[in-house]
């Protein structure tokens, strides 16, 4: 299927090992759910890139279709959709997120 928005998303999640589609920026999240995922990634000292969907309406719609997921934030690790804020939070609390990052070779370390 020829879809320029999907192509852009595929390029972005391939180029960035940890990619967060969110509302606002890492410095200034504009939604509580996005802020929570930023907080977890920051806590784990994970290097990550973000796309602010509020500034990119095409991506905002496209990302929902791309992953068949109705909401933002959406976290991708090494090109794979991990989940939204509920799943990321649950995985962080259980340690699964840290295991996934290790398996995918993403550097991380909990802040002291």
């Amino acid at each position: 299927m020829d879809n320029p928005v999907f192509d852009r998303i595929k390029t972005d999640i391939a180029a960035n090992p940890v990619m967060l589609y969110m509302k606002g920026t890492a410095q200034f999240p504009q939604c509580g759910f996005s802020a929570r995922v930023v907080q977890i990634l920051t806590h784990l000292s994970v290097p990550f890139n973000t796309v602010n969907v509020l500034e990119e309406p095409e991506i905002r719609e496209g990302i929902k279709q791309f992953s068949n997921w109705p909401t933002v934030p959406q976290l991708y690790v090494k090109g794979e959709f991990v989940g939204g804020s509920d799943i990321v939070t649950e995985m962080f609390q259980s340690g699964e997120l840290q295991t996934l990052l290790t398996e995918k070779g993403v550097p991380h370390q909990p802040k002291e």
């Binding site: 929902k64 068949n68 997921w69 109705p70 909401t71 989940g83 939204g84 509920d86 799943i87 649950e90």
Partner: protein, 77 residues
């Protein structure tokens, strides 16, 4: 129009008849909910898929008229 607790429960139960569904109105504003869904159909499948099943049951309302639904899914113990 905002959705009520019973609307959310009914949609989920329609798609997952065996599910034990608990919906809580977090802020009392009919807009921010938390749902726990326990169903045998979730056994052995990844969390993303489990949530997608619930979102599908909500028939496109999630992210639209249903703004915030914190979701926890699991198979029965």
């Amino acid at each position: 129009m905002a959705m009520g607790i019973s609307d959310i429960e009914a949609l989920i139960k329609a798609a997952l008849p065996d599910a034990v569904v608990t919906v809580e109105d977090l802020a009392g504003d009919g807009d921010h909910y938390a749902a726990t869904v326990v169903s045998e159909q979730f056994r052995g499948i990844p969390r993303v898929k489990q949530h997608q099943i619930v979102y599908a049951a909500l028939q496109g309302r999630m992210g639209g008229e249903l703004h915030a639904l914190a979701l926890q899914t699991s198979a029965p113990d």
